[in-house]
Amino acid sequence: MRIRHLAGPSLLLIVWWVATALGWVGSDTLPSPASVVDVGVRLADSGELSRALISSLQRVLLGLGFGVAGGMVIAILAGWSRIGESLLDSTMQVIKAVPSVALAPLFVVWLGIDEAPKVLLIALSTSMPIYMNTYGAIRNLDVRLVETGRLLGLGQREIVRHVVVPSTVPAFLVGLRVSMANAWIALIFAEQINAENGLGKLMSDARTWLRLDIMMLLLVIYAVLGLSSYSFVRFLERRLLQWRRGFAGT
């Protein structure tokens, strides 16, 4: 991430700091950045923060892994074959029409209160953007390129590997951005419903005791995690999309 991408978030931080330092807002409404850092250090020292962070990250990575892989595979199956399309696409549209958070209570009934329902919720809400974008990209693939692949003697699998999959990468990365944002939202939701550990558990405890400083700390952590996943996707875009000459802005 380049320095100029940090300009906006830094400005936000400065406004927060000035507003609390000058007493524009009381500390019972918005704690100062200093007190948030303070509570962050204490939670980090006690190991509570890293434990919460690790279990949350595990859930997100696992859910994202399943979601991305699942979305990609279903998109290729539905995009490549007509039978796949009639079986899968309408099914995916039905699933998409149901908000995944509405399924959470059902997952708890089916799968208990352990990791499974949380990971499944994250997987479900991350698979959909990947599926939609990748499937759309396959449907938009220039048929001439597939024909060229055939004429060059490529078999079905080689065409999928050298033609279909690479053509979906730009759209896939757009989907990945959305998926990563969804992953954190699904995580927060899943953990606040019930969890013995994780960032969401810290958050619901903080709410119970009205600890605004901890709540602010967690919001900052969520923001940092969100920004890092965004810069991760940008990194992937730079690596994987060298071949594209897109409009870079004025």
């Binding site: 055939r150 004429l151 060059l152 990468v169």
Partner: protein, 243 residues
């Protein structure tokens, strides 16, 4: 399927080939015999079925009737170079080459079309003429027995088009594939082909050998005579034709 592939067969044979889309007949009872190494140019108005014919021969369209005898070693170059944008120039040419020396073959052919310094470039950074040269190199790297060209230079500017025509003449001297080219450009057809045919409403209405020694001067009387005949077959009288 009616399509036969005979290894010892030379060239290309069509017998009674037809293609219809619903009730719309695009190709009707076509017979064509192209001998090995021969270069046939097919001219015709838009919608006369030229491209459909090439697609049928290429094996991209199997909804035809009649019989086609063609080698399996055939490649096609389209008007649009159809390079894979996510592969560099060299990888585009190497794709699908199975031999152990695929890379050296690809490098050699790219050298022959004058692109040895562009091997690592992405297709998006090439000019139209360069991209079409890569497409030609990709086709010839397979050392095809049958080369199908669907208006290969139709999208190029006049100067690149002339250069590509010269390049094609040179490359044919090396690879000697049987070649079937569809084009809109009468002069291009006469300059390159051993035989010029005109397709009209799904039937061949003109078939003539071009016995002009190379290099073929476009201003020579022999060239102009063939041109007049072809234009007549196309229904364009010379007085109306504006160059």
């Amino acid at each position: 399927m009616a399509q036969g592939i005979r290894r010892d067969m030379s060239g290309l044979t069509l017998s009674g080939v037809g293609r219809a889309f619903g009730s719309h007949v695009v190709l009707e009872d076509l017979d064509l015999q192209v001998s090995k190494g021969e270069f046939v140019a097919i001219l015709g108005h838009s919608g006369c079925g030229k491209s459909t014919l090439l697609r049928v021969i290429a094996g991209l369209d199997d909804g035809y009737t009649g019989e086609i005898e063609a080698t399996a070693e055939r490649v096609m170059v389209f008007q649009d170079p159809s390079l894979f944008p996510w592969k560099r120039v060299l990888a585009n040419v190497m794709l699908g080459l199975r031999s152990a020396d695929a890379e050296s073959v690809a490098r050699r052919v790219l050298g022959e079309v004058g692109l040895e310094s562009h091997l690592r470039q992405w297709p998006a950074t090439l000019s139209g003429g360069e991209a079409q040269r890569v497409a030609l190199a990709r086709a010839l790297a397979r050392d095809p027995e049958l080369l199908l060209l669907d208006e290969p230079f139709g999208a190029l500017d006049a100067l690149s088009r002339l250069r590509m025509q010269d390049l094609l003449i040179q490359m044919r001297a090396t690879y000697r594939p049987t070649t079937l080219m569809v084009t809109h450009d009468v002069e291009e057809a006469i300059a390159l082909a051993d035989r010029v045919m005109v397709l009209d409403e799904g039937r061949f209405v003109f078939d003539r050998r071009v016995d002009i020694a190379s290099p073929r001067k476009r201003t020579s009387p022999a060239f102009q005579a063939v041109r007049a005949d072809v234009l007549e077959a196309l229904g364009v009288s010379i007085g109306d034709h504006v160059d």
